[in-house]
Assembly symmetry: D2
Homo-oligomer: 281 residues x 4
């Protein structure tokens, strides 16, 4: 599918501050960028980078003095996610065979303290047969046991908070799911993107679990069709792949996000025994 | 200097378990391995890897059934750390100029929740002039305010625990120092190694801070000479560079570590206005 | 002094909910109530109680169905706090001589985890000579190291959060101070009241420490004169003496507080070597 | 039943330290002490107290210099717990009708952060019909979801740790159960005592929930018969009713506990539709 995506972020800067923004659509074999524009108001020097592991294209901006600014991004992106029709995942991942890059997604991270959730994860999901079924069970459990409550959490909220307080937003749903996967030795990573048909429109966060040689996308919030994403970044958790990281002192003053179909007809992915999931490569 | 290093780790395995061991001396332009041996008792298949970013050489071992085993490593390693005679670090790091790999060490991680320590770090160290002086101040503050108490912490202890409970071991001293550096936008990473003249002999953990184009080693415990290390691994924190990571269920039953001079005379590094630190590359 | 105090609290109730309100001025040998009115809109049955240890006069209200309501209280209260001119406090409290009621304020509580702050408290304040000087040092330390930031915390924030995050409101300043006192075996309790000359007008929270046979008031925020309080309640912490405790589900929709002089001239208490503090009995 | 209870506690004192010991059998209308002895080796001055709310009889001991000491207690105690044959508890507690002393057990406390577990408790137990059935469901849930693992926790472990880490000892089982009750507006308190047929013999901790006018005992560990307890103390949680509270610095060097039948035959309480629980008054 081809999408028009747009986002606009405004900040009030209170002291010299560096920003890292993850808002660009990623370039992958499944995702082609036909056109894109980045605009900064007022005009300042802004630098674009690829992360060292190609998991994001980000921009860094140093603001030297107190001002208000807006950053806008728009792009036309064609995405062809792979539909997963078959699942040959085993009872467990053979950790000793994992590539060392993939294995790095087994470790606990800032917001995903998998080392503290081992017993819980084994009790709740240890008996589920395959890795695929375990991840589906985790996704359903998070969906059923955590309330989606806008504004209930902040940038310091982690999986340990969410599993006890039982409320959060997409970022928190993703962090808890990732922590539970890693607690069962399943590599899992944070995924952020634009999401078609998400209401209200915003950046969205989900997670990917690794099994049978590929990363498969899961959305514990169930708020958007799995095949309607434009991938921005993946990472260990929101610590390294948040939409915005701020080094200094600034206040968000506005955000607008939009993802529309550029052409064609969209049919939302639905799970059944032949449609097991979606992969963005 | 040339060192003979040895380590031996014993475990009782209770169920099928995968181990990742970071005990090999790293190969770097400052560190040459003349000889090394790895021995596993009883004999099992064990695989050696380089981490994807060359920050460690690790072995993975899958144990399929309950047994007791021992892993021993010995090596002859020549190390030539760089002594830092000059410091041109500025008042702050220009985050927007950092290489994206180095910038990844600005983010909070599992045991180093720098995002929660911003105010504390600014209040305590914000006025210190240069980046070098800030890191020295952090190292001294941690040394002076945290008690070294063997057995006071465990593998889940993080910087947030240590800053309030004020006790820990080398791992905890390193985590808190790293968190405080990152809270001031100074890239910092976990460093683990063999340490000559450490008493009692054990694996040691310190941290490296990045400034003026290089990673400089700091040891907030002050328990070993800075120029007597054999580097094993660096990482975001102990989550990805601990000596042992266990995926399954096993109990440590013994550990022996030794680092001796293989030849020559050793003179321990001492700070003065001409000797500002040590870098292992 | 004689004060006119007023408060008005509005709530939207979402499901059957019980409220406990601590808004009445307490009756003590230092505090006389000349007149008071309680008004509930719409009219509902409301019951007044004394807490079992006479530390508060509270009202309980059961709201059976979703409505909006307002509770208003006004009173004319005469208060004669004792000024402390002398301090015979010793180097430490003789815990074994304390009355068992007073000793109960040595224990850690929900928001004052003194058991986790022992090492910190000893390192920072252990060498200060007398109990009085220790409590003054704690009050000054909290005042100097914690930023007063409206809205930075919520009803779950505890001393452990505040000591690391270094920001909060009066409730948080009080909780941290109490925890530090208890960590040094000094009985300390939460104090809530109306405060003359507090800007902007609101309920205020401070703490009392026990020494030399009496409870002395300290205000780590320094936002109101120590001799201008009308006492509402004391307790272990905000868990049992918050202005409002809600058992059910309701949202605050408005709050107004006022404390004015009813007659006479007020001279704010200032610390000097003859004016060591204020006690409300 | 009549029991012979004994306990002996040994400590190494490192600096001047005050101890509070809760080891005496309580005197209640259900519990008569026929004989008791307290012995301190070496001999020191020791004072006995009743807590201000008669919830414990405790001794305080000030040790002025580093020594080793042992405290031994023995008693012959007759206990006649009430068996509960009927349950008229309603769907919920009418908080507004509670005596203010009983209502104080609704508040969150140091180790029972009920305010953080509201959503979890409502989701898991909100639909259970009566208060009695809710508490039984909580007891069974804790028993089924938490592993009893000696040594897995320490004196700082709270309900928030236990609900995520899923392991603990009797104290942790009690704290989590209490927090879940309070989150549902059911008054609940910590109960500590000697327990007949507990293996291995030790002090035991359970909890009491208040309903239908009485405090009923529940043991989420299921390790001892409910009708075989000799009550020592009740409290908000282990913060105010732990067997030992230490103000200073001392290390436990030994503990022995014993509870034997002094005469007669004991038949352990078993739940059935006519035997709903046990109350110690």
């Amino acid at each position: 599918m081809k999408y028009n995506v747009k986002s606009s972020l405004s900040y009030r800067v209170n002291m010299p501050t560096t920003f890292i923004f993850n808002i660009h659509a990623l370039k992958t074999s499944n995702q082609t960028i036909w056109e894109e524009h980045l605009n900064l108001e007022p005009s300042m020097k802004i630098e674009e980078y690829n992360s060292h592991d190609d998991s994001s294209r980000f921009v860094r901006l140093k603001v030297h003095k107190p001002i208000d600014f807006s950053l806008s991004y728009s792009a036309v992106v064609e995405v062809t996610p792979n539909i997963i029709y078959e699942n040959n995942s085993k009872k467990s991942i053979a950790v000793q065979k994992l590539d060392s890059y993939i294995a790095s997604f087994l470790y606990p991270s800032r917001y995903c303290q998998s080392d503290k959730l081992m017993k819980f994860a084994y009790k709740e999901f240890g008996d589920v047969e395959t890795v695929y079924d375990k991840v589906v069970a985790i996704t359903n459990w998070v969906n059923g046991n955590i309330d989606y409550v806008s504004g209930s959490t902040n940038s310091q909220t982690s999986a340990m908070d969410t599993i006890t307080e039982r409320a959060g937003v997409c970022r928190d749903f993703a962090h808890l799911s990732i922590a539970l996967c890693r607690a069962l030795s399943i590599p899992a990573r944070y995924f952020t993107g634009y999401a078609y048909q998400l209401k209200p429109q915003d950046f969205h966060a989900c997670f990917e679990a690794y099994m049978d040689g590929q990363w498969i996308l899961f959305d514990p919030t169930g708020l958007a069709p799995l095949n309607g994403f434009v991938k921005i970044a993946t990472g260990r958790d929101a610590a390294d792949s948040a939409v915005t990281s701020i080094f200094g002192n600034a206040t968000g003053t506005g955000i607008e996000v939009n993802c529309e179909l550029a052409e064609g007809n969209f049919e939302g992915f639905k799970y059944d025994h032949n449609h097991l999931g979606v992969s963005y490569g």
